[in-house]
Symmetry: C2
Subunit: 141 residues, 2 copies
DNA sequence: CAGTTAATTAACGTTCTGGTTAAATAATAG
DNA sequence: CTATTATTTAACCAGAACGTTAATTAACTG
């Protein structure tokens, strides 16, 4: 695996379980067992997810008696945001309009922060680039 | 690998080579050989990176004679942006201040879009959460 | 058609991921 | 000290990721 911060952050975010954990942590700190509760996987598995999140800096951890608490940390998310900034300027309006639309869709269907994101949020893909230049946009094979 | 869009996008973005390819594509469409030029890895490897990017929707591909062109697509990045929105609201000011700072730092050092992001952008991590609650913030072991 | 250029697919090896169960560690409670 | 609760580490496994080289496909060129 690449070892730079962005790569670590993106690959940490690439797992639905870990994203769900982060969503949970947005509601406040929690212990390992609490975080594990919604999932069917074993505690050691959760423990390792937490280690991945910690390594990427997305969470920090503390101890209260025999409990290890996890807390959401803003820095890596802010860095992702900064990364997007580049493309936000480049892609211009379509970017923000799409994001705005996706945000609204996301809000409609249930609690905004309690997702595992198993959906497709279709109907937005490839409907926003009217500036054709060279190609034919077909798929290979 | 998880098959939902966000997971696909995040894991596509988790690779520095792929991010560099996207950065290159922000300057306009390019062929496979052109995209491969800055890297030391083989052409088949690049070809597969492109397939990953295509699968996640981050790029679309067309054909011009024997050349396959790749083009940056905004939708997945917009979706990432929408994902962050959730936390942007939650994390409040620190989020944007951090992002703003990171953006500035990023701008200073060279061409904004031509990065492989091998740096650490230190000095921002964990300096922004004054709201302690329970724990001691020590590391384990 | 034969040859060249561009890109992909096939086959293969190594390393990383994400899960499991069993054992070990940490801290509290009796 | 012993037991209990919370969490991590160890050992293991299956599958995915990412690289390689060799072979194949696609499209143009003479």
């Amino acid at each position: 695996m690449a070892t730079d911060t962005l790569s670590l952050t993106f690959s940490a975010l690439a797992d639905p379980t870990r994203r769900a954990i982060l969503a949970r942590l947005a509601d406040g700190e929690a212990t390992v067992t609490e975080l594990a509760e919604p999932f069917e996987i074993s505690l050691p598995a959760i423990s390792r997810h937490l280690k991945v999140l910690e390594t990427s800096g997305l969470i920090s951890r503390g101890r209260s008696a025999q409990w290890r608490t996890s807390r959401l940390e803003p820095a890596p998310l802010a860095e992702v945001n900064a990364y997007l900034e580049t493309y936000r300027r480049f892609l211009g309006s379509s970017f923000d309009r799409l994001a705005e639309h996706l945000r609204r869709v996301q809000e409609e269907s249930g609690h905004p922060l309690d997702d595992t994101h198993g959906d497709r949020t279709a109907d937005t893909t490839r409907t926003t680039t009217p500036t054709r230049t060279t190609d034919t946009d077909e798929d290979e094979r």
